[in-house]
């Protein structure tokens, strides 16, 4: 259909059909890329289960996992089975869930704030959660015999930076950069308070608290996995249901309003969801940096910036990145190197590479 000289509409469906086919083909390619990512995650996971101080053959791991999934009620008879299922599988699941959750949170924040530097870490949410966890450890705050006190305090303090950002946007017309800067300010305050607490407690408590500040998968267990899993799955689904709003907000608040998006309400919902996801992860693993920042940028290379594909793609890339980092930690170090150190080692150069190859000057 086009406007001719005589101001009439001339219909020519060939071009429209061609665009439609091209669009469908492009979508199919991207969905194929997501399937490849799932395969990579499965392969990396099985390889990750075979790596460790007690090496187990890749094929044996595969057989153990399949066999146990098919016969869940059967007791674990061999040492290999117990190592794979009781020790390594919870750690792997923690890596997958934490990587996926942080990446989804990062992708949502970057689109919502129109800022490539946004993630739960740079907006202070992770630091808030870590501060809550450190307070619980330092002052022995617990609920019964469980570590629920740590989780609840981490949740509470993770919401503080999000609240500050929201309040700032209520009192003043905030730009996306201002939101990041406000988050960074809160992050510095929380980091200073965390470090002060670590200075005044005894060495044993300090070591336990220190673990939260650098991120570790060593506390992984089947008993604590469900909380993190449920929060990340529900949170990710909720964010997935708002991808069209995120796409519109990426074009600016004014444009988003003119296509019917209640920008203020969506921003509050996304910030709360991201805070809850980040808090659920950080309260069990401590601060794991760079995954939330880098995974969405890697995903954009393959899947583009449409949040309908970016969010599920980031979820998978984040999981792959953290599983691979855990493999690296186990392969190249004899000690149990905290995952946060490995993600920073790998994520830093990776981020530099992304900055260099960027086409558009958004930084």
């Amino acid at each position: 259909m086009r406007i001719g000289k005589n101001k009439t509409i001339m219909t020519s469906d060939a071009d429209v059909s061609h665009m439609y086919s091209e669009y469908r083909a492009s979508r199919a390619k991207k969905i194929l890329a997501i399937i490849v990512l799932i395969a990579v995650l499965l392969l990396a996971s099985i390889y990750g289960l075979s790596v460790g101080s007690y090496p187990i053959d890749f094929i044996d791991v595969y057989n153990i996992v399949i066999d146990h999934l098919l016969h869940l009620d059967d007791p674990l008879s061999s040492t290999d089975e117990r190592v794979v299922w009781n020790t390594r599988m919870p750690r792997l699941m923690f890596a997958i869930v934490a990587g996926a959750g942080l990446a989804v949170a990062g992708a949502a924040m970057q689109s919502m704030m129109k800022n490539p530097l946004a993630d739960p870490y740079t907006t202070g949410i992770s630091s808030g959660a870590s501060f809550g966890a450190v307070i619980a450890i330092a002052f022995g705050i617990s609920i019964g015999s469980t570590s629920a006190g740590t989780t609840i305090l981490a949740f509470f303090f993770a919401l503080v930076p999000a609240t500050v950002i929201l309040l700032l946007s209520t009192f003043k017309k905030t730009t996306p950069s201002m939101m990041i800067l406000a988050g960074l300010s809160v992050m510095y305050i929380f980091n200073a308070m965390t470090q002060y607490i670590m200075l005044v407690v005894d060495s044993e408590t300090m070591e336990a608290a220190y673990q939260w500040t650098i991120g570790t998968l060593s506390k992984s267990s089947w008993s604590t996995l469900p909380i993190m899993l449920i929060v990340v799955v529900l949170g990710s689904f909720a964010i997935l249901s708002m991808t069209k709003y995120l796409n519109a907000m990426n074009s600016g608040d004014n444009y988003a309003k003119t296509v019917g998006v209640d920008v203020k309400r969506i921003r509050i919902i996304i910030l709360v969801l991201v805070s809850v996801i980040a808090a659920a992860i950080v309260s069990f693993t401590g601060i794991i940096g760079f995954v939330g920042l880098v995974a969405p940028h890697i995903t954009r290379i393959f899947l583009g910036s449409d949040n309908k594909l970016l969010i599920p793609g980031s979820l998978l890339v984040g999981a792959v990145v953290l599983v691979v980092c855990d493999i690296v930690a186990k392969l190249f170090t004899t000690t149990a190197l905290p995952i946060g150190i490995v993600t920073a080692f790998i994520g830093g150069p990776m981020f530099l590479f992304l900055i260099i190859r960027q086409k558009k000057e958004v930084w």
Partner: protein, 283 residues
């Protein structure tokens, strides 16, 4: 086609400094309406008051007889679309994905085949079909404008608002965009309201011209009625001659005494020297 009616509309950021005062305007025809005014005259503010991006200090806006205050944003988006001055996206998508954003008020979270067809048809309408799968960032400024207009049309509005769609475009693209807007208004039977700066392009294509001056509407009518020598000289403070070419006014701006006096004041305020640098060199 929809009617938009502004009644006694006033707007100010600071109560002591009004931007718009007592604006009364009725737009009820599917035509191209150009809003003209000097910088700071309140053109964008007036437009933002029409689609809830700004709230009038007093007065009312009615769309299809219903007060704008009673509209939910999503319902309003089905009637009025908006083309911003420039696209502000940080992470750009493909051209077709960008145009598909226009379906947001109508669709669920996933786009249907119909949504894709409508977006593709509008890209074709603006002769951008060859760029459908290209990244939005890879296009020129003129092509950006065409994509944003296609996105706006994909919203299937009754009223289209455009904030300076011809800014940063060369003369040919300015004419092309304005011609397209006029044709779109006629063919799709929608009201197109745009802010413009180029007087000749406005004169060439506008069905109706609304001129803002001194916080209110100074003139409203056809291009020939509004774009007179007196109005232009008053509005912009420059001398001009207005000729009639093919039944439309053609404006020739003159580097005359009023501009000389303005420039002299400017140089004097900077250096205390009333002579312009060019004049000094000539001597």
């Amino acid at each position: 086609m929809a009617e938009i009616r502004l009644e006694n509309l006033c707007f100010s950021y600071d109560p002591n400094v009004p931007i718009l005062e007592d604006i009364n305007l009725v737009i009820d025809k599917p035509e191209l309406i150009c809003i003209l005014g000097a910088n700071g005259a309140g053109k964008s503010t007036l437009m933002h008051c029409m689609n809830k991006l700004s709230t009038p200090t007093s007065g009312d806006v009615y769309v299809d007889g219903k007060n704008l205050k009673e509209y939910h944003l999503r319902d309003l988006a089905k009637i009025i679309s908006f083309v911003p001055h420039q696209e502000e996206s940080t992470f750009s998508m493909s051209v077709l994905d960008t145009v598909l954003m226009g379906r947001i008020p109508h669709s669920g979270n996933l786009m249907t085949s119909d949504d894709i067809r409508i977006a593709a048809e509008n890209l074709k309408l603006l002769e951008m079909q060859a760029f459908a799968m290209r990244n939005f960032d890879e296009l020129s400024t003129g092509q950006h404008q065409k994509v944003m207009i296609a996105r706006s049309l994909t919203q299937e509005p009754k009223i289209m608002l455009l904030d300076e769609p011809t800014a940063n475009l060369d003369v040919k693209y300015q004419m092309l965009v304005m011609r397209m807007l006029r044709d779109v208004a006629r063919i799709k039977n929608i009201t197109v309201i745009t802010i413009c700066h180029d007087l000749n392009v406005t004169a060439m294509y506008a069905d109706r011209v609304v001129m803002l001056y001194n916080k209110g509407i100074y003139a409203d009518g056809s291009a020939a009625e509004v774009l007179t020598k007196e109005n232009i000289e008053l509005l912009y403070g420059v001398e001009c001659q207005v000729m009639d070419i093919q039944g439309r006014p053609h404006i020739a701006l003159l580097d005359g005494d009023e501009l000389d006096s303005h420039i002299a004041d400017l140089y004097q305020s900077i250096s205390g020297d009333a002579e312009s640098p060019q004049e000094s060199e000539d001597q």
